[in-house]
Symmetry: T
Subunit: 137 residues, 12 copies
């Protein structure tokens, strides 16, 4: 299977920023471990802080890959344009959040992209990504 993890704004600070909330490891370190767990699958990784670049990437992979794991960060709650991109592409998408968004401010309780995803996994820390990969198997 050909899968891609797409991370949105500020997730490049993982391991640097608010460690009590997001954990101590950078995503790169975690990603290496993750790919080792699924040696028979092809898992890529992409990160951008720019909304439109995430849309570009979704267009690029969204008609040929087997699955997309999307943590759109703050854009989850504000980007109708990413939601439209998800509605336009063919590849199934799983929404992932490191924290339980329902324990945070109200603005994070509403997801614009969720209606266009197959499913959603949130609150399991960085392990959320692994569960998302398993959901495709």
């Amino acid at each position: 299977m050909k899968l891609i993890i797409i991370n949105g704004p500020n997730l490049n600070l993982l391991g640097i920023r608010e460690k009590e909330l997001y954990g101590k490891d950078s995503f790169e370190t975690y990603f290496e471990q993750l790919t080792l767990k699924f040696p028979n699958h092809n898992i890529e990784f992409y990160q951008s802080n720019i909304e439109g670049e995430i849309i570009n990437k979704l267009h690029e992979v969204g008609f040929s890959y087997n699955g997309i794991i999307l943590n759109a960060g703050a854009y989850t709650h504000t980007s109708l344009a990413i939601a439209d991109a998800l509605a336009a592409i063919k590849t199934p998408v799983v929404e992932v959040h490191i924290t339980n968004i329902y324990k945070r401010e109200k603005i994070r309780h509403k997801s614009l992209i969720a209606p266009h995803c197959t499913g959603s996994i949130s609150g399991f820390g960085i392990k959320s990504y692994e569960l998302a990969v398993r959901s495709f198997l």
Copy 2:
């Protein structure tokens, strides 16, 4: 590990009701398969349509089990009393939904119980329960 799956109202109709939404198999059939996949763990199952009985069960297991997998059905969106029970107990709880609740009516987008759960998994059909079990391992 000692885990329990608690299903809320109308989930006893699984396999009978709205099959295009919830699938064709009864939960009992699925539960049997699920336990076979995790032979080293002790997984129980409980279902009730009565809000207060779900609270009773949460009190009973919530100080000794290792994990609770809760699909509270419609009570997810209306029961502050179950939310209070979750806040009172010690065992970590994972919220599960068979369907992607964000694709359904607006009243189902708000979860009263989510802020008191560790994490949330929704939209993967009946497979959501398996992912929830894995999240505890």
Copy 3:
């Protein structure tokens, strides 16, 4: 025809409680008269103050009876779980209210169960039940 009248919370107080609003006769007295008017039909009666028991009863009768006449009382306005039960069963349901709910407080103007009923009859006092029976004939 096999019909059932299901009464929700506090309707067991009919004839005792707020008589200027609900009338002086108990439902049992009225029910006897009602069945006499429709000798060729089989009409049952069930009452419970417990939301989940009403759901249980709906599951029990909802795949074999010809019609359900439901006065869910206050649960009309708060129970998404009963609404889900109505969506799941096959028997057509008619919603009944003794009083005109639009003359009462605002919270009673919104019915969660109405979208899952065939039709709705309200405001004719206890005679509302008879009109509901006639709607099935």
Copy 4:
């Protein structure tokens, strides 16, 4: 008994418009059958697309007839002026809707005229009118 059925805007298109929603027969055809069912009662019929003409008719009949059966169509949800007319007259009024307004758009869930009616019947197709007549007997 002297009764009148008053139909509001667009109901003159019955049998022509959206047949899957409102049925195939014109109201005139149905009205003829209805009067035959109640040979001992005097039932009239009036239709107008003009809000103020409906008010005029309510003033005309509202102090002498025994009952008014009102399907105000879209004016149900927007006409405070008709609501005022109902509050001003003496004849009891029963609100009727062909469709279950709770299954339709949100703007149709709120009735301005309901608080000034004795009772309400909706969702039984064109048969709703017959049930309304019976409610007066």
Copy 5:
């Protein structure tokens, strides 16, 4: 092609009222020029200040004409009954506004009739009508 322009309330004052907003020419003068531009098409014109008369006209033309150009004026924002008429008829309807309604008060930002129109043209002054005619060609 057989088209009709239907103008709603206060549009008979065009050229008299608020000239800085609506321009100096009466609609009659403009209409003459407009028909000259489209000599091969049959374009009619109707105006009324009465909501119900607009509904009557929509019923009259709505099953035989090729297109309706509707400027419902203030009824755009308050008339569910006109919206119902549009839903009931067969002829495609184009919504037209002389001014850009989004530059005006908030109550004018919501159109009840727009969901039942093919398309919408607003803000081009009286030229909006000509663009609407062209949209049918």
Copy 6:
């Protein structure tokens, strides 16, 4: 001075309808007394239950009379079209209400026409009209 009193829907029932709210005298009786009090002024009276006819009358008098006294009844709260007519005409308009609209239901607290009137007088019973006449002198 040339003045006109324009009364909206249901005000033709004055003296008949809800007497404790609107008083016992018909408007005609009162109007006669009123004109006698102002022998040097020309005061007319018009009533209609039809929104569009009120607009027609406003167009007719709104460019030549010295003042309009408007009790738009329920249309005060729902008619953007009458509000537009007031914005379009030149004659100053005084809004009048027999009852204190702030003591009644919430829907009557908001006036769509008030922003287009010079001033507003309400709550003085039928005497409100006399005060409105005096405001023009």
Copy 7:
């Protein structure tokens, strides 16, 4: 008759502040002219910028005077305490505003004190006070 005009916050600046909105004369000048017009009546005047002092004054006069003319200024929209004072006293109160409050910001459209007044007069400039005096005669 013994009447009192009570003016609320900032009305002491009349003639100084925003002249295009409130006119050029101070209230004192106007008040003198006003009392001359009603030589047979005893009219007093009181102004304070302090909410509680207005309440004190209302208590003082509210059981013995024949009428109160109250322009509560900005407290009209924010002071539940003045509203309570009006509900507690016996003297009838007429609400007065110099400007048409419906032409101003939204916060000024809601009056907390109006439900406790007999009537309301607004928009006639400083002449509003005279009309209010006349309403008591």
Copy 8:
């Protein structure tokens, strides 16, 4: 006097759950001390997590006891059915809360049952019950 304390959902966990919020003692221990303080009065105690069972108990005691002390827990904010039961019974009811509900989440600021209670006591910890008993003496 014959009084009853009725405790709603999760209050059986008192002394076990969130001790910093609700205190260290179980309600049973406290209840014993309480009855000793009022030796001349008959005070009973009932607890249930099931909404409908609380309604049943209210029906049972609500026509013969002298007073009811009700801590409905989370049902305070969600149960219209318990509110209806309170409206239907005759015995006066005092609402009690251990914590100051205004210091907690917004959903707990609104009480559905309060309008049907004589009075309300909240925030005094478990001592709130004693004050409620005293309110009846």
Copy 9:
């Protein structure tokens, strides 16, 4: 113990105003009886209609007294400044209301000061003050 009762706006009218709501006795009469019941405690009394004077008094007593019993009247619902004063002082405060504020208009259901009080007692008539005193003992 050194306690003070602080009464807000209009409470000086107790026994004069709306007797069916607030009772027949003036607060002074009641206060005398109250102090007699607690001979070992020092209870003072203060009333003002001026928001800022209540704040001044709270500052004066709020760092040395043992308890404050505050009935802020209408300021309960509108005064963020009094709420701030409560947050700033050290003496515990009990909120008191004579009537059950939940049986009154909606604006009275929200208390700005409640989150800064220890507890709240309402609806027991003038006896509410005595219960408040007892809560400190």
Copy 10:
């Protein structure tokens, strides 16, 4: 005339994505045909998925071109920054939408950019662009 069509996010997928909604042809194909229809005018085309790049382009052309035809896609409803850019430039802008946005989800009913455009054309499929071009001639 020098015109430019600016397309926002996901419009590069035209002809690929949701064909039943947006049609089968790519925008490039359509654009070629469009320019052929207006041989005397200079029409350019730009597309970007990045909000800030659209702003850059608006700055670049907005002081020298004769007209801008803007289909901002999802940014229509979320980008205050594009709205600001439109307010800052000098070239008149026409808003275009392929679909009738009023037939779609509620979030698409509100346009942030519309108040800063001359006019708006929506719902005519890809032909909307041609009508926009004509609006400039």
Copy 11:
């Protein structure tokens, strides 16, 4: 330059109240240091807990001073009367807050007085006053 600092309710407690929020020094101490920093300017200071007294002071200085630095405390969010006073006077006003009001409760996010101030400075602790003085130089 002649400047005045006006402090609203509870700011007299500075240095006493919530020290972690507002700092340890009294305003008097700080004010002395502040005036020393600007020896060529005349800076006064006024504080009151009474809304109307602040209005009185604004009237007094608002037509002759060069600048007003206003920290209206809680009245910032509730006093339309102070907002009106600011609109009426001529001296420019700078709004100051010690804390960042956006980090506090929602009710403090809306400022009624801000639209009538030249500018606003908040969040720099007591240093905010100095920045405000500098803004006038």
Copy 12:
């Protein structure tokens, strides 16, 4: 000290766009003068119209600089992603606006980024930046 000024969308048009609102000088000209005033400090300047590039810049400087002065333009009100970036970095941030945002449309009254800034300065024209620099000294 090492400071950076970051300007968001459309601020590159300063001196070109809406001069009555933003002034006549370009930011570059102003910036030069500003740096001359603070010769002992290192002040940089960055501008971008792209939300994600602003985030990139915040990440780059946010762990080493002494202060950030951020005028996020329209993104102030819509970008949760920039707000997240501010929460993640370590350098203190001061929010700056040239205009008083409270005098403008409602959407500009709410700042998403303000809760993550130390303080806020707005309304002093381009001088706001200088005050912001001073706040760091």
